[in-house]
């Protein structure tokens, strides 16, 4: 095993190499794991502020400057809340579910490259790793619903799991696109492949599909069936109170921002700041860009009404899934054709290598792929519009019929 940085220092100081390595890994993990946990505290404040502005309110503004310390106040309040475990609950699983829920989101951060030189673990299966880890969250919801031993909790958990599971299909298909373009599942390699051109310009449709399905994965509006208050009391976490409820809450808030970071890495070029590769600038640049999808997500959440579950399911199975499959196939086909023509930058072995190409070399390829994506979208949007018009007309007709019947 290699031993650099802190590990090297410790070994020179006379520590056993194995122990030194373990200590350096432990420190790294602590650093990486605290980033999301600290972030979430401020995310809650940011989200409440943004939501308030969208709804024409002020938001938290009492505790600390601009209400910045509101979250800490809430934290203290949560600490002092009574924590009730229902008598009929399965105690072990009931207590394990919130931990698993938060851990599932925090684990994603292990593969996030913060800067060119700082990444928790550069796994060569990074993209698959985060999908796999995120699926632990689904299991956590299932466990929470079952262990509460409450009809509504279980019913809510069932619905949510059916929803999450359905939206994972377009998510994974959209994920195939950056993986295919970069020729690697490693997050670092995917960022390097975007040094010339962001993938969002090559595959905007995949980016949008990924965004929509990750919005559904977090259970935010318009997909917030997780807490369809009017239908399901409160969903799977109905029996949870105090800090354990706070864990589910924190996991959800963190998940939204994590998705922003993932979209930034997969489609918006990650930390890659043109020209500079200073760690601090790269880190800020990543955070800044992650804020764009994060903000759009909040914007949607606060302005779009909740859909019914049958609508949500229909949207997924009859629209997102076919579209994401077609998208992957067309992209694969075009990449192959472009490679034959010679518009795709290749390395000496004839394999596609986007990481070695600059902006200009990538431009023709990007334009073709972008236009193809737009061409896929045009008939679909038209069809959607026609369907909408038809449905509205049908409803209008029904209403006039009823009015006539009432008039008679």
């Amino acid at each position: 095993m290699d031993c650099t940085g802190l590990c090297e220092v410790l070994t020179q100081g006379g520590t056993d190499p194995g122990l030194a390595q373990f200590l350096s890994i432990l420190l790294g993990v602590l650093l990486v794991v605290t980033v999301p946990l600290i972030t979430v505290i401020f995310l809650i404040w940011i989200e409440r502020k943004i939501a308030a502005r969208i709804q024409d309110r002020l938001g938290p503004n009492r505790v600390g400057p601009f209400g910045l310390l509101q979250t800490f106040a809430d934290l203290i309040k949560l600490l002092a809340k009574e924590d009730i475990t229902p008598a009929s609950a399965d105690r072990l699983l009931y207590n394990a579910a919130p931990l698993l829920s938060l851990a599932a989101v925090a684990l994603i951060w292990a593969v996030v490259p913060y800067t060119p030189y700082h990444v928790g673990a550069d796994l060569d299966i990074g993209a698959l790793y985060f999908v796999a880890v995120a699926s632990l969250g689904t299991l956590a919801i299932m466990i929470a619903g079952w262990a509460s031993n409450n009809k509504y909790a279980l019913l809510g958990a069932f619905r949510v799991v059916a929803l999450l599971v359905s939206y994972e299909i377009p998510l994974v298909f959209a994920l195939l696109v950056p993986v295919m373009l970069a020729g690697s599942m490693s997050m670092v390699d995917i960022i390097h492949a975007q040094s010339g051109m962001w993938f969002i310009f090559m595959a905007p449709l995949a980016g949008v599909l990924f965004f929509i399905s990750s919005q559904a994965e977090t259970g935010r509006a318009p997909f917030d069936l997780i807490e369809a208050e009017s239908e399901l009391v409160a969903g799977f976490n109905i029996e949870y109170s105090g800090m354990k409820f706070g864990m589910f809450f924190a996991a959800e808030f963190l998940h939204v921002f994590t998705n922003g970071v993932l979209i930034t890495i997969l489609f918006l070029g990650g930390w890659y700041f043109p020209g500079w590769q200073m760690p601090l600038i790269a880190f800020m640049w990543l955070g800044l860009k992650a804020f764009i999808p994060y903000f759009i997500s909040l914007w949607i959440r606060n302005t779009v009404p909740r859909l019914r579950i049958d609508q949500v399911m229909k949207f997924n199975w009859f629209f997102l899934v076919p579209l994401s499959i077609v998208n992957v196939l067309i992209l694969a086909f075009l990449v192959m054709v472009l490679k034959e023509i010679g518009w795709v930058p290749v390395d000496e072995t004839g394999a596609m290598a986007l990481a070695q190409a600059g902006f200009i070399e990538l431009l023709p390829m990007t334009i073709v792929l972008f236009i193809s994506n737009v061409l896929i979208c045009v008939p679909i949007v038209n069809r959607l519009r026609r369907m909408g018009v038809e449905q509205r007309a049908a409803r209008e007709q029904l209403r006039t019929q009823r009015a006539m019947a009432a008039g008679d």
């Binding site: 095993m1 600490l79 809340k81 009809k151 020729g183 009391v233 864990m247």
Partner: protein, 120 residues
């Protein structure tokens, strides 16, 4: 060996990630009131007595969604290597992938036409 080093990081992370959320819960245990009574620890159903079994019978629909998801998930097992290797593959490989996805879409189209995917 350095591949395993990356995974050692994940391993330590895996142990720590559930432990860190335990800390605030432990902290809450110190501060929170502990006055449990029978009424409080009843199942929360808006004050109404629980009617019938908790494990109400569910529709097969849920299972079918899970089933289709499983099939697509397993498809990913074979499609991800295909996508990763795509940059060095030939046209033949594209045809193979196309056929693979096409065969699977068959099943989806079947489910589609039978009206199974509509939530009832």
């Amino acid at each position: 060996m350095d591949v395993l080093n990356e995974w050692a990081f994940i391993g330590v992370f895996l142990v720590l990630a559930p432990i860190l959320p335990v800390l605030p819960i432990m902290g809450a245990w110190l501060f929170r009131p502990k006055r449990a009574n029978v009424l409080k620890s009843q199942t929360y159903e808006c004050g109404v007595e629980t009617v019938g079994d908790t494990w109400v019978q569910f529709r097969v629909q849920y299972y079918i969604y899970g089933l289709i998801f499983l099939v697509f998930d397993v498809e990913m097992v074979l499609l991800f290597p295909w996508a990763v290797a795509y940059h060095k593959l030939s046209f033949f490989a594209f045809a193979a992938g196309l056929l693979f996805i096409f065969l699977l879409t068959d099943a989806l189209i079947y489910a589609w036409r039978k009206g199974i995917l509509i939530w009832r």
